[in-house]
């Protein structure tokens, strides 16, 4: 029994048993699947909006004359994302096989292709013959692609983090390096307990990332079919 206010604030870490080593990886993979589920429901709202407004065609304003998204831009953007996702998958296979330099090269190429997709999408918006206020299709087109842009951007940031950690610890094998207290946050005053063996986490994070990036690439392909082909 204690009369200390609220939650206790000190502990004897020396007696605390460590976590199972595979736990962090399992968490990341589970989170990637859950994030994919949430992403699916987010974009299902746009799919619903597309078909709902298209079927209503309210005021003949679904797709007025001149409103047609350029299939060339859409195809290039989709291709960049798809190839990037394939490269991450191949990079994961390399990492599993112990070919770390190959993974880093493929990862870098995937990052560049993802960044290219973002730049091309931004250019594509300026090249369309219509604006966001030109009816139902235009609304869905700009809204859907804008939020897809943000999701791809977020995934590229994640890929950059994994790659950066891979490059920083490229000379170390799993289980052979230790992180000093505070190094994880880059701030010695902000450490309570850090992960000491970052190299062993790269694989787990890459497994999670490659799944999510492949899933998101699937949504990009679906977007291409709905917005450009239907």
């Amino acid at each position: 029994m204690s009369s200390a206010p609220l939650a206790q604030e000190s502990t004897d870490y020396a007696v605390v048993e460590g976590e199972p080593p595979e736990l962090l990886g399992r968490n990341l993979v589970a989170a990637a699947h859950l994030l994919a589920s949430a992403t699916a429901f987010f974009f299902l709202s746009f799919v619903f909006a597309y078909f709902y407004l298209r079927s209503l065609a309210s005021g003949a304003m679904w797709k007025p004359r001149g409103v047609d998204a350029s299939i060339a831009w859409g195809t290039v953007v989709t291709a960049c994302v798809a190839v990037s996702a394939i490269l991450v998958q191949r990079g994961l296979a390399d990492h599993r096989a112990g070919r770390r330099p190959e993974w880093r090269r493929k990862g870098l190429a995937a990052l560049l292709l993802g960044a290219a997709a973002l730049v091309l999408q931004a250019i594509a918006w300026t090249q369309q013959s219509f604006g966001p206020s030109d009816g139902g299709f235009a609304s869905v087109y700009f809204g859907w692609t804008a939020f897809l842009f943000l999701f791809v951007l977020g995934t590229m940031v994640w890929l950059e983090m994994v790659l950066a950690t891979s490059y920083r610890y490229r000379g170390f094998a799993a289980g052979t390096t230790e992180v000093a207290p505070g190094e994880a946050s880059g701030d010695p005053y902000r450490s309570g307990a850090d992960i000491r063996d970052p190299v062993s986490l790269i694989r787990a994070e890459l497994e999670a990332l490659s799944f999510y990036w492949a899933f998101l690439a699937g949504i990009v392909v679906l977007t291409w079919i709905v917005l450009y082909l239907l």
């Binding site: 609220l6 909006a49 309210s58």
Partner: protein, 629 residues
């Protein structure tokens, strides 16, 4: 893989100005102005903002987005991703051993986050309650107006939106975060930094909603229907940002809970041994992860309509207001169960403790929770029965809505059978659980009138439906919330709450809750519509009765607040480690629980409901593992 490293003690100056609530507020205000002037640079000057009606929606959005980013940066949420971008390795824990300052900063201890949630949500719950008092004050007279009609609508909107938004995390935030890791034998949540982020996002959202009054408020109530929303003041932007942030927070909270429960259960804790409270959290989290993104997407479309001139919801320009209504309720009805399911779970978790009997029909109770989770996706159009939807759709949604009473009934059956021939102790948490049965039963039965098309046509949009959802949400969730507070706060804080004050709080709250909301069924049947500031003279007696009862209800909640402050800050009577003689694992730990929860991960060999089978376990010494094997 992980290790517990010693923490360097930061110098005083660093503790004052480094990444805490103070720096968060300073950077939040700075970010607000940066966003404001950024928007001005994009779309032109609007310095006369407060005096001029030529409001600039983009300015409001970018100002608040800048404010949120600044607020989070001030708390230190950007440090970690920036370090990761430079290749520094992942880390799990921050500020877990920094005294009282932990409660005002980014802290990754799930117990601290739980307590942060309790006080943070309590604050906004209190503000929402004050709005309710103002609404009832206005309705004391049929025509005399204390507030202009627009202000009244904003008060109604603020009350409804705050309660519906904040209370989505009302149980999972404080009690889920605090208890789930302990109940499953873990030391932390799967993603501790995300756990902290969900709380601070919610606080930022609450501040955004309250500042709507500086931008003219919003007239739509909590549902934000178009076309009214499209024509509303910039205060509507605050509503959109509030609910979008709440949606993001909910998604992340649910994701973290599911990942924790799925991957971090201790050895022996099979699915059939999981505490029913954890099942409730799991069901609710599933709804959060899937439904909240729909809300965020819907509000994003509305934000684009207001800023980028898209026309998702503009009927004359290729859009449809029905699109908004459908998408909103695809989220909105699961949202009702996001609020209700944790209440079910708390009641089922507490009944065995106070009836001294095993939980009756454990698997049936789990089936009930999962059944509600599934069916809640198939009912949303009953909110649109009178909106002009295709009449052929009505029978399906009427039947699917009525079908949901079957899994809900499982919960009632399991609860009642657990009470049957139990040795019931009428402690304060148990009283709130018993009241839950009465209140939620009335809420459920009145819901049948609203799911049934012919009666819904009469009662839709009236005080009848308002009374119905207050019986389900306040009578269900809030009563269970108080049961949880009286039950777990002694464990969370190490201090006992005053039992006598607790009982007075319970009885006054129960009586005045029913005295407030039961007459509103009659007012609704007599034709009084929601969200209208005036009403016929003949309804004044009913309304006065309700208003006086509501003030008494407010007073009973103040009594609770007094009890909380008195017990925790002045009386400070140390709580026993296991005051209720519970067999649940959290009560086998010392009060308050150590930072690391367990020295060694416990091994489970049974569920926690073996009452009447063996004496309650002896309390474990400080820092020792729980012993239930």
């Amino acid at each position: 893989m992980t290790t517990m490293a010693a923490t360097l003690r930061a110098p005083l100056w660093r503790r004052l100005v480094g990444f805490n609530l103070l720096t968060a507020i300073v950077l939040g205000v700075g970010g607000w102005y940066a966003g404001w002037f950024g928007a001005r640079a994009i779309v032109g000057p609007s310095l006369d903002y407060f005096a001029d009606v030529d409001y600039n929606e983009l300015s409001v959005f970018l100002a608040y987005l800048g404010g949120v980013v600044g607020f989070l940066a001030g708390l230190g949420f950007l440090n970690y991703p920036l370090a990761r971008l430079r290749g520094y390795p992942p880390s799990l824990r921050e500020k877990e051993t920094e005294g009282i300052g932990r409660y005002f900063s980014l802290c990754t201890d799930h117990k601290v986050v739980g307590i942060q949630y309790l006080w943070g949500i309590g604050l906004f719950f209190f503000i929402g309650g004050l709005n309710a008092m103002l609404i009832r004050f206005e309705l004391l007279r049929p025509n005399h107006q204390a507030f202009p009609a627009g202000t009244y609508l904003t008060l109604v909107g603020l009350h409804g939106t705050m309660m519906m938004g904040m209370m989505t995390s009302g149980i999972l935030g404080p009690f889920g975060n605090y208890l789930v890791p302990i109940m499953i034998g873990a030391r932390r949540m799967a993603f501790p930094r995300i756990e902290a982020l969900t709380f601070w996002l919610l606080m930022a959202a609450g501040a955004i909603l309250e500042t709507t009054i500086f931008f003219g408020g919003f007239p739509t109530g909590w549902t934000g229907y178009v076309p009214l929303a499209n024509e509303a003041n910039p205060g509507m932007d605050n509503y959109i940002l509030f609910f979008a942030l709440v949606g993001i927070s909910m998604t992340l909270l649910g994701l973290n809970m599911i990942a924790t429960i799925v991957t971090m259960r201790a050895p022996g804790l099979t699915w059939t041994r999981l505490p029913i409270f954890v099942w409730g959290v799991l069901s609710t989290s599933t709804l959060m992860v899937l439904a909240a993104p729909v809300l965020v997407a819907t509000l994003s479309m509305e934000a684009l309509d207001r800023t980028a001139q898209t026309s998702f919801f503009v009927a004359g320009a290729g859009g449809s207001n029905y699109l908004y209504e459908n998408l909103f309720w695809v989220f909105g009805h699961p949202e009702v169960y996001i609020l209700a399911l944790p209440g079910f779970a708390i009641v089922l978790e507490l009944l065995p403790v106070f009836a001294r009997k095993p939980l009756w029909g454990y698997r049936l109770a789990v089936a009930g929770l999962l059944g509600v989770t599934l069916l809640s996706w198939l009912v949303w159009q009953h909110h649109l029965f009178v909106s002009g939807i295709n009449g052929d759709l009505r029978p399906f949604y009427m039947l699917s809505t009525e079908l949901i009473s079957i899994p809900t009934g499982f919960t009632f059956v399991c609860g009642m059978m657990t009470l049957w021939r139990g040795r019931i102790r009428y402690s304060v948490p148990m009283l709130f659980c018993l009241a839950w049965f009465f209140n939620f039963l009335l809420g459920g039965l009145s819901g049948v009138f609203l799911s049934d098309v012919p009666s819904d046509v009469t009662t839709h949009g009236s005080f009848f439906s308002m009374a119905h959802f207050h019986y389900t949400i306040m009578g269900g969730l809030v009563f269970a919330f108080f049961a949880a507070i009286y039950y777990w706060v002694p464990k969370m804080t190490g201090f006992q709450l005053n039992e006598r004050l607790g009982k007075i709080h319970f009885w006054t709250m129960f009586l005045f809750f029913n005295s407030t909301f039961m007459p509103l069924f009659a007012a609704g049947f007599l034709g009084q519509p929601r969200r209208v500031v005036t009403y016929p003279q003949g309804l004044q007696f009913l309304n006065d009765w309700v208003s006086v009862s509501a003030f008494c209800l407010g007073a009973s909640l103040l009594l609770f607040l007094f009890n909380l402050v008195y017990s925790l800050a002045f009386a400070k009577v140390p709580a026993e480690a296991n005051p209720w003689r519970s067999k649940s694992i959290e009560f086998q730990l010392p009060s308050p629980v150590p930072v690391h929860n367990f020295d060694r991960i416990p091994v489970f060999s049974s569920d926690p409901y073996g009452y009447g089978e063996a004496p309650a376990p002896v309390v474990a010494p400080a820092g020792a593992p729980a012993g239930r094997s």
